[in-house]
Symmetry: C3
């Protein structure tokens, strides 16, 4: 059986901070600032980054800063703390430097390790390279009297080799010579992956790498780990960041790297169901969210038009017109619309199914209805969806995520209650248990 062995079953956000910045009075300034983040601005996993975000010449100082800042502020930080060390599959000197930094940071005398949940190892190669890193974790734990396996290991997947290694995790975990059960996050690193794959695009933009993200998500599913996507560089492009997250979520990759507290807020909220439900209308080219006015879902665009002519309707979509009777119009609009349920809706449906199950019924119809308005014509639509155990289990994912967040992030309770209301939060915590 594949178990998730760590405190968190879901990780929405992976936020990196440079560990030492040259030329500042306090080289640890960025670390100190990040350590103060709370609530929606604070990530599920905070990564003091002693690798790419920090200049090579500053990395010994960076390791020292991690110790200082985490010893001082780690107890109060609301998320987990997983510093990133240096590592490279092709360079033993870099690997040894990473080991030395871990050994240093993990010294209990220094007061940081009790607040550190694990380390992030970048640039791993084949599975035997992962084992080399695991062995250093084991030695660090033994040297410092920490519980074996207590330090989580997360890796950055940024080579074809590492992508291939993920398929072997299930077979390798549990062998007596390793402690790969400590694996926690599988994080894609598309910049270096693109380099390793020698990929080119005309504008220098990163390829989307859908297969990599699928394979990482699958690897996480098969090995009880958690999949996280790499950084989204265009910090100002909030809509683009959301699109990427939606695409990831449909792959089962619910976490993403965040480069700024603003991105952390977006990424902490993105996989949670919305506060209010909404209807979408497929206009041929695209899907638009309808506008709710006095309970009527209104389409204001020009790609779809609807005219009532006696007993029939003329429905025009993207230039082509159909003449439809009442039933056909209803059927066609059902095909063209989709409902995005709110947290309240999801909880409602789950409660309803749980009650039906308790009463001995295995499947029930969930009704959903709405009044649509297109060009002043109002049409009531209603649809049934059969829910069985499988539907219920699949609907559980956002609720399980919510519950994991609520249990592990008391600092976000206020924001969650503000978003959903106390009643919905309470009911969401009660379903499925």
């Amino acid at each position: 059986m594949t178990r998730r062995r760590h405190d968190r079953s879901f990780v929405r956000t992976f936020f990196t901070s440079p560990t030492a910045v040259e030329g500042e009075d306090d080289s640890a300034k960025m670390l100190r600032r990040a350590a103060e983040l709370r609530g929606m601005q604070a990530p599920d996993v905070w990564v003091p980054d002693n690798e790419d975000a920090t200049a090579p010449s500053m990395r010994d100082q960076g390791a020292q800063n991690i110790v200082d800042v985490v010893a001082e502020n780690g107890a109060d930080f609301p998320g987990e703390i997983h510093p990133r060390m240096v590592w490279h599959r092709d360079d033993p000197t870099t690997r040894y430097q990473g080991f030395q930094h871990m050994l240093d940071i993990a010294d209990p005398q220094k007061g940081a390790i009790e607040h550190i949940d694990g380390f992030v190892i970048p640039e791993v190669g084949g599975i035997d390279d992962w084992k080399k890193a695991d062995e250093f974790f084991t030695i660090v734990e033994a040297e410092h009297g920490l519980e074996p396996g207590s330090l989580a290991m997360s890796v950055i997947i940024e080579s074809g080799q590492a992508e291939l290694a993920m398929r072997n995790l299930r077979d390798e975990m549990g062998k007596p010579e390793n402690t790969l059960e400590r694996l926690f996050l599988l994080v894609d690193g598309e910049v270096d992956y693109t380099k390793d794959m020698r990929a080119l695009t005309p504008t220098g933009e990163l390829p989307e790498w859908p297969e990599l993200r699928h394979n990482t998500s699958r690897g996480a599913s098969a090995a009880g780990c958690i999949a996280v996507d790499g950084p989204y560089d265009d910090i100002r492009d909030v809509e683009g960041y959301h699109e990427r997250m939606r695409d990831n979520q449909a792959k089962g990759m619910l976490g993403i790297w965040s480069l700024t507290p603003g991105q952390v807020v977006e990424a902490n909220q993105s996989p949670l169901p919305p506060k209010t439900g909404s209807w979408l209308l497929d206009t041929g080219d695209t899907e638009v969210e309808l506008d709710s006015r006095d309970g009527v879902w209104t389409y204001d665009g020009t790609d779809v038009s609807l005219v009532e002519t006696g007993n029939t309707y003329e429905l025009a979509v993207d230039g082509s017109t159909q003449t439809l009777d009442d039933d056909e119009l209803h059927e066609t609009l059902l095909e063209m619309t989709a409902y995005v349920p709110s947290m309240d809706d999801v909880v409602d449906s789950m409660e309803e199914f749980e009650a039906a199950k308790a009463a001995g019924r295995g499947a029930i119809a969930m009704e959903r209805s709405a009044t649509l308005r297109i060009d002043e014509v109002e049409v009531a639509i209603a649809t049934d969806r059969m829910w069985d155990e499988a539907t219920y289990q699949a609907a559980m994912t956002p609720i399980a995520l919510f519950q994991d967040v609520y249990e592990n992030r008391p600092d976000q309770h206020e924001a969650l209650v503000e978003m959903y209301g106390e009643d919905v939060v309470e009911r969401a915590m009660a379903v499925g248990t």
Copy 2:
């Protein structure tokens, strides 16, 4: 060499029926009804479903119903019969229950097993979990004096682990400790796969999982199995079902789950070449099928327009206009059109190539010509396509499928002759042999 070891080389349809429905006079009513299906409404593989389609409390009754209905009606059922048992990679109690049901159903005294071709095992995990199921098949065969390996095993791929397991089938089959050669269908189960991968979509719609479907098709190709896609829930959306099947077929996944006899009809026909050929025109946004009027392929839409002006033509596509001479127009229209060959066309081409090969020629040009009409302007187009051995072999797939259907499904002969005509059917059975 990878051989397909079962009677059927192709499976178009996988149709599930609940084995026991509560509250009916006859809990086996659905089974009995399905057992009567014939012709295009009858699936290649019928799956009395003692798992998700049947309430947990009814599954012992369901196993009994399978025995009763198959003993009575199995001899006359035109497709293969593969009941689905309960199983779960994470639950030994469920696995043991599945084993007991198999042992029960396979008892030759009960008269059902002689009509049963195998069993379907859902919710498998890593390859060692597949071996546990295989071991139960082996014991069932031994206990009941059935030929070793005679019961086919099909699995539902509904976890990341199972997706990964498929890559190992070639290495594991043939080891003396297992009989994995009994593997028959690899069936995707996207609902539970989505749950296992913890994927989310705003509307709760299933993700498309293109990589899973590719990997299942590849796994089937590499291990001599047959790939089948999961259920398409929106039963009324016939066009959507066809689109999904076309997408699957381009991946080499020629079979699909069917939830109703109506879906069975669609899915039995979908991978077969059409009765009549047709020309497609690429209008920029989409591809439309042209309308054949007195042998002239006519475009009636507004996205493409064509005007003759003395010696040149003005061709407008999706708003942008080109001025073209005769040759340029011909070339451009060739690029914009594609021909969907009929069964008759495919057989013609294969016969032509076979004759050329017999005469010592390795490659020949197949001509295709048509008269198009756009806005009253008629243009004759003609194109050559080189056929060599590889083209011929690739064109063989739909014919091989047709031949497999014709040989194994006498109950569909009438429908096939009605669709194609006796002459085409006879010639299709003769090519490539």
Copy 3:
């Protein structure tokens, strides 16, 4: 560490020629003609094709022709020479024939092998089938006193089995019983792959197989090989060939099969940065290249319109209009545009970053600015992009490719200097070293 062990680190072009054509005075005519190709028309890898391009009855003659033509012209051919032998995972007779041809061609007495860099093996199956081929290479080398491992082995991936085998290369290379380190090119063969996967499309067109191409590129990355895409049949469709190459390049697959010297020219140029940079505008539906007039990048289409109205602007994109102030317009246009850097631009940026690094700075902002004109309104835009070591390394790919070409293909120097100018070529050869 994964090393590339061959002379070429990049291969852009894989050009096949029939080895023996029946009915010609000189059956080696096509080979002789190909052997004369020089400059941009000459491929990086030339493949006298004794398999599918040559009729089965002509293959013994073909092997003889390879010896004759390569002995005579091989010394002067500017690319590498890798003849394709016959092979099939399912047919020992074919494999033995391929072995005999290799043994024959490699005889040093015949004067060809000193100009031959390796052989291409088609239709391979699982990894053990690859080892059978490798063993024949080993015997050929031993029999003829050639250096062990000196003959490169390239394979055509044209079965699901072979696609799966690529994941094991890292684990298998270096085992004492094989010499798989000789692996050079992993070449997709989509026609036979489609047959092996039993895939269907309505028009008979080949599926795009994005997952196969990803997996081949990843396999090459993980094993130090080079990924090459299969043939693009529609020789007249130059734009389609370019689109396919751009798609491949975004997957890290920088090489492609070429069927004609014309395709070789296109494919040799495609992965190299363009001579001049250009701005792209996203018009909603598509991306168009802007027209540079007196240094102003001008949009002439109708999908985007811009009107200045006092202090604000009306920007209409694909039918929907926004009112924007100066800053918002600038921001929106930045989102809508992208720059395709020229070779000169890439070299500039790399030099700038190298200088900054030498001066102790780890990250610098690269500025890019332009004046756009839409509907007579001119707008200046400017953007910064942060470059760090990872950006620099990723930008290195096209330069490394250029350097590999320049070092290995003196016959293309003239064309490269003509394309880029002497100064840019010199600077491109100097960066990153």
